[in-house]
């Protein structure tokens, strides 16, 4: 269950995806990636778990462990993170 009202945006997610990959070049996340499966972006389950860990720490929220299995795309992950809480607006 989430414990914060902060909403994680696609910009937040792409920034953290980039940081977690530790890539000096930056992964190409500028295009329309919201519905692109993580695996096609080069994120396997380990890389995704790491990003989810970063999000939990930075936003002080708790994300269910199943997220890595259930959310195949950035869009699906954001929907899962931001669901079950009062809309920010």
């Amino acid at each position: 269950m989430t414990t914060s009202t902060a909403t994680v945006t696609l910009a937040d997610l792409t920034r953290m995806l980039r940081e977690s990959a530790g890539e000096e070049e930056g992964i190409d996340l500028d295009g329309d990636v919201i519905d692109t499966p993580f695996i096609e972006l080069g994120y396997d389950s380990l890389a995704l778990l790491q990003v989810i860990g970063e999000i939990q720490r930075e936003f002080g929220i708790s994300i269910p462990d199943d997220a890595v299995v259930d959310a195949e795309t950035p869009g699906a992950l954001l929907a899962l993170i931001n669901s079950g809480r009062t809309p920010a607006a």
Partner: protein, 592 residues
């Protein structure tokens, strides 16, 4: 009907050594004749498999004939028929991978008929032109050739298939697509599988290409929406073979008995495991009632080997000629098989030796950690080592259960992301050293050759040298040493811009490659064969079709008949039909 109990004649020709046929002098089996047999099919003896045997079927054997000639075993039999039966026996005992049988006095007194005989499943997997299988159950005499057991074609109209088309120019592609669309929209679904694989028919494919993978109901829409590509630049193909960790229950099962080369190749690999091979297959195809789970080293390693190998064979059967190979961990042995370092039979023996010794090592496992090697070094303890460096932030650790568990706890406490790799043995850790020593003894008996094609090694992180390839110790150390996959991939992608194709379950190596600079910048590319996650059997086939489409739009010309078997071939009724039909030999099989 399984091919694995049969021997196939893949070449046959009649040699007439005498100067003038009218002399009618019977030819005598001599050392010179054996030299001629070794060269009968135009290849130099060095290109023959290491385990090639020459079988002389002749009533008269010259005095100079020895049991070994030019490094190959030579055996003699009183008649050509006995020699062919002996060849079948040697192939299925595993003592030979290729038998060259010389029938002296066949068909005439002064001629020799030379047969190249292989195990039938391997002949199909290798893409050989099979003239027929030997009917060794026939009464005495030269065993007749029977057609390869053919199975009914299963043209299920609701299966996915591939539609390929091309044009000489962009406009031409639009025109071809325009002619294709009405055919699809007005089509009866039963006729869908029988449509040509590629249009226009009968002309070489043009450089503007497109492809669609669809079931009949969605075919027109999918073709309409497909994006055409101008293939001015066609990158060579490199095959990647994954290792332990990529296995899952029922992996690639959607291709078994649905694609003939994959099926023959899996069967060929498992046949070399004897009774255990049958148990491995049963557990693979019936995961719910499996006696041993897929993550156990006794299942993961043999099956990953068989499936990686069979997927590679299938790609080759499409006419694709990979220019290099790279395997991860156990996948390196598959890569070595394709590069000509070891025969299939010997590679399987090497896998089996690994498994036999790995189970004697105290239980352990592997962890994947999202961190660099440098970051992880301080956490290593006695018995826990760096198992693999896969990508920038993807390192695997391995060790025995208890010390590995303690390291995992410390890593998690420090906020690192740790995932347990499904494995029961501490591969690539110091704990495996006794197993390496034990298997080296086995490996010393195996003929190892230098790679015929570029083979990249995860152990040296670069091209495998001829010395390393031929060293039993190098292969034995693999289960203990660190895998430097990232370095090997770096070297490979620095050498050339290539299309990497992952020939294995899941997309583990594909994900590593997508994080590589070359692939991110679009210089290189990567294409998986199978889905990232376990799915339906149709999803396996759909994924393979997508890979074939990718190869086509990359500019590779595919053997269209071979690719079409993905939606027209089925072996479901084979067991019911086996033994009930003995069709006559078609005329084609009699043409030598």
């Amino acid at each position: 009907m399984s091919l694995t109990s049969h021997s196939a004649v893949v070449r046959r020709l009649i040699v007439s050594p005498g100067p003038a046929p009218q002399e009618q002098t019977p030819v005598v089996a001599s050392a010179t004749a054996v030299s001629a047999v070794l060269r009968a099919f135009g290849r130099s003896p060095e290109e023959l498999p290491a385990r090639t045997v020459v079988l002389i079927g002749s009533a008269v054997v010259g005095p100079g004939l020895r049991a070994e000639h030019e490094g190959f075993a030579v055996m003699t039999a009183a008649t050509p028929g006995i020699a062919l039966r002996r060849a079948h026996h040697e192939l299925h005992e595993g003592t030979a991978d290729l038998a060259l049988v010389a029938g002296f006095g066949e068909p005439d007194a002064h001629t020799i008929t030379v047969y190249a005989v292989k195990r039938a499943a391997e002949a199909v997997a290798d893409g050989d032109a099979v003239l027929g299988v030997l009917d060794v159950t026939s009464p005495a005499g030269t065993p007749p050739l029977r057609p390869v057991p053919q199975t009914p074609r299963g043209t299920d109209p609701d299966r996915h298939r591939l539609i390929l088309w091309s044009g000489r120019t962009t406009d031409d592609e639009v025109r071809v697509r325009g002619e294709l669309l009405p055919m699809l929209s007005g089509l009866h679904r039963e006729a869908y599988p029988a449509l040509p694989t590629a249009v226009p028919c009968g002309t070489p494919p043009g450089p503007v290409r497109a492809a669609a993978v669809a079931v009949s109901a969605l075919a027109a829409r999918t073709v309409h929406q497909a994006r055409a590509v101008d293939v001015s630049r066609s990158r060579p193909v490199v095959l990647l073979f994954p290792g332990q960790g990529s296995q899952h229950a029922g992996m690639a099962a959607g291709l078994y008995r649905r694609e003939p080369v994959f099926t023959a190749a899996v069967d060929a690999a498992l046949a070399h495991m004897g009774e255990e091979g049958s148990r491995v297959r049963a557990d693979w195809l019936n995961p719910q009632s499996a006696a041993i789970g897929i993550d156990d080293v006794r299942r993961a390693q043999p099956l990953l080997f068989a499936i990686d190998y069979a997927l590679g064979r299938m790609i080759l059967s499409w006419g694709v000629r990979p220019t290099a190979f790279l395997g991860h961990s156990a996948g390196e042995l598959v890569a070595a098989t394709f590069a000509g370092v070891v025969s299939l039979r010997d590679a399987v023996a090497m896998v089996q030796a690994r498994v036999r010794e790995a189970v004697k090592i105290p239980a352990g496992g592997m962890l994947a950690v999202a961190a660099s090697e440098e970051r992880l070094r301080p956490y290593l303890t006695d018995g826990v080592g760096i198992a693999a460096v896969n990508a920038n932030q993807q390192v695997m650790l391995a060790g025995s259960d208890r010390p590995l568990g303690e390291v995992a706890d410390r890593l998690r406490a420090d906020g690192l992301t740790v995932v347990t790799v499904p494995a029961t043995s501490p591969f690539h850790s110091p704990a495996m050293a006794p197993a390496s020593d034990a298997i080296e003894t086995d490996y010393r008996d195996i003929p190892l050759r230098e790679p015929k094609l570029p083979l990249y090694s995860g152990y040296t992180g670069t091209l495998m040298s001829p010395e390393a390839a031929r060293s039993p110790r190098f292969w034995a150390d693999q289960i203990t040493d660190t895998v430097h996959f990232r370095n090997a991939l770096d070297e490979l992608l620095a050498a050339d811009d290539v299309l990497l194709v992952e020939a294995g379950p899941r997309q583990t190596l594909t994900a590593f490659a997508r994080r590589h600079r070359s692939v991110r910048l679009g210089a290189g590319a990567v294409c998986p064969l199978l889905p990232a996650r376990p799915g339906t059997q149709e999803a396996d086939r759909q994924s393979v079709l997508n890979a074939a489409a990718r190869l086509w739009t990359e500019g590779h010309d595919l053997d269209l008949n071979a690719v079409a078997r993905l939606w027209t071939w089925s072996d479901d009724d084979a067991s019911a039909a086996a033994g009930t039909r003995t069709p006559p030999i078609p005329a084609k099989a009699l043409v030598a």
